[in-house]
Subunit: 456 residues, 2 copies
Amino acid sequence: MGRDLDRELRAVLRPDQISTSAGDLKKFAVDQGPVTDYREPVAVLWAESVTDVQAVVRLAGRHGVPVVARGAGTGVSGGAHATAGSMVLCLDRMDKILELNPEDEIARVEPGVVNADLNTAAAAHGLMYAPDPASYKISTIGGNVATNAGGLRCAKYGVTRDAVLALDVVLADGTLIHTGHRTFKGVAGYDLTSLFVGSEGTLGIVVGVTVRLKYLPTEIRTLAVFFPDMASATSGVLALGAARVQPCILELMDGASLKELDLRNGSDLARRGTALLLAQFDGLAAAQEAEIASTALVALGGSVNREDPDEAAALVDLRRHSRGMDVDSEITVGEDVAVPRSQLVHYVVALEEMAVRHGVGVRIIAHAGDGNLHPTFWVQEAGQARIAALNSALDESIHKALELGGTITGEHGVGQYKLRWLPLEQSVEVRGLQLRLKELFDPLGILNPGKAITGR
Amino acid sequence: MGRDLDRELRAVLRPDQISTSAGDLKKFAVDQGPVTDYREPVAVLWAESVTDVQAVVRLAGRHGVPVVARGAGTGVSGGAHATAGSMVLCLDRMDKILELNPEDEIARVEPGVVNADLNTAAAAHGLMYAPDPASYKISTIGGNVATNAGGLRCAKYGVTRDAVLALDVVLADGTLIHTGHRTFKGVAGYDLTSLFVGSEGTLGIVVGVTVRLKYLPTEIRTLAVFFPDMASATSGVLALGAARVQPCILELMDGASLKELDLRNGSDLARRGTALLLAQFDGLAAAQEAEIASTALVALGGSVNREDPDEAAALVDLRRHSRGMDVDSEITVGEDVAVPRSQLVHYVVALEEMAVRHGVGVRIIAHAGDGNLHPTFWVQEAGQARIAALNSALDESIHKALELGGTITGEHGVGQYKLRWLPLEQSVEVRGLQLRLKELFDPLGILNPGKAITGR
């Protein structure tokens, strides 16, 4: 870090808000996404107020130094990876719930509030904040907004964008703006709120979030339905749709995922079947919906276990944290494609076939209700030929998802890692438009450059 | 219209796609919003294909002639009013449902498809397109997208933006782009889809819409709950929230509205109470939710009528078309504010008080579940003093809604009519940002200029 920048930073932040220690530069160089271009930041900063964020952004602009905003760093696409010469700006100390209004059914929070903490506070009023990424126990609302995070409950309750009513955003020149409304409906002006949601800190830095809360369900029923193969389990997704019941959670796991879960947790899932469809229903009609679902799934050859509440919670928890077994490395890469629901069964078959052909391993878990799949490809060792096979399988899995009408990223975001695939999904015109938007919001290119969009 | 433009238009459109007749120029000069600056277009054009729209936009750019895109013209904020020297481009002939996929639970439609027609087609598969503006029998999906239309069912199912997955848009230079995804989830790139939704044809012209469908409920229960006064009826909204039941429709009508409905429909609503809360529940738990709701509302002094299905449908229909009695004129203006739900009761009291003070009439109907109110102010005659009183009351009602944390428009859009109030809600920085966005998308200012946003 240049001496002028260092001095000016110290004029606006306390010493304990700035670190240039080797340990911190290393720790905050990456999030949980695959690392393809390791770069350490020149400094790690902790904002404790909107004013801090404004001051840092203004200094960044004056010195032409990029700012990478960061919540808990749980992103898995490298959206919070440091870039060359950048400052990482941590927002996790801005962790106050500013307002929780049970009559208006909204909350106003600072960006560093942890998802689970907001849910705990909301639960005291019989409310919940619906989007629940697997990382919900540690990830922040600001990070969830930056990536438009999804989760398990999205099948019924929608993703982060659907829950966000208004934002406070610091723009590239340090200006603070307020977008959106605290009412459920509002159509004054352009929908800037949605434009910032999912923009990964490249258009502005979110410093305040107003969210809509939903009613915390009191009735919950969970079905664990084991199938002899993935094709029939996947058909179950369409069967539930045809029965017109809407699970709040509908998760699909293949045999390899069940074995891996058993290995790590001492469970006995793989003994019970080769594929698992985990369906949870909530609300006053939960029992009735579970009954309808059960009939539909038995007809497909499913073996239905009605879980008692404790076992059900444990099973959902196992699934929720299955990401833990799939931390990306050079030899293990988790994907995040989505396909139209009717294509799920074809896609699953194709994934299994391509893994065999490329000689790599694959495990499949999916937020099946949304058609959002997280296949994990892996090889046993890091040799050049093995890594090449892994990358070929990954590339083919992406191409296939797009061919079936899908997307390269259902909920993780493009970040840095998926930039190489974005041109396969988005036309040159759309990419050009996005670049011009980026230039409009951030003419100096200081806000998390090289993430989320690409002109190439 | 200039001779060159006329000749070039006739080179790309058939004669029956172009009108310059006095009757058409008059008919297509305005939508259903208040008229403050009457201007006739130089021509009315009917596009029948994406290529037609591209050709017209390119000609418009070359000749510097504004294009006002128009669906059914049912907007009530003047978003489709013609502006000086403009061509009105009607999209209602582009009325094909291109795809309705019951397994993927989506539909792809041309912009001119009528909302009710899409719902009829979806109902054949047990599905529905949820957003249901009062105009749903005649308004188009393209128009609904342009205004981010709401409706009665939004309380539970969300507004147009929540239903739109992807768009085909013709940009100001004639380029066709595709935004979004046909999967339920997708976070590749910026959320351009949401940016176009509600932008009233000022950023691009929507020529294709992919929407998510929802399950058509089979069980429906409707409660008509009459109260002795508006304050207790309004309290009922919070009571239902506190009971954690989610109506799909929750409508509030005051005594003046009930009388007006009776007068026009021969009903006897006003005899039954001074304020009506109309609550509809759907889904498998409808009966149980209606029971919980009933208990909560009786405790507030409500008199509950469990409507039989036919009566219930008639009552909802009456409410749905109550807008018909409030077509705006010089002496009658309907509003569209929204306030946080906890402020509904205070706002209703304030409205009644300000009407008395300004010596004008007021009728209040509201999508109460969303805090979205449609008060209608009126005076008996058009004298200058009366119109001034009407405008003072309108202005005060807007100021009061904002003071309570609300918005100037819940679902109708800013259009042309509400531009004067937008600076009360949006900061100069937000308005500046929106102007720069408009310039980026439409550097020549040909797309519906003077609507939706303002720099003043």
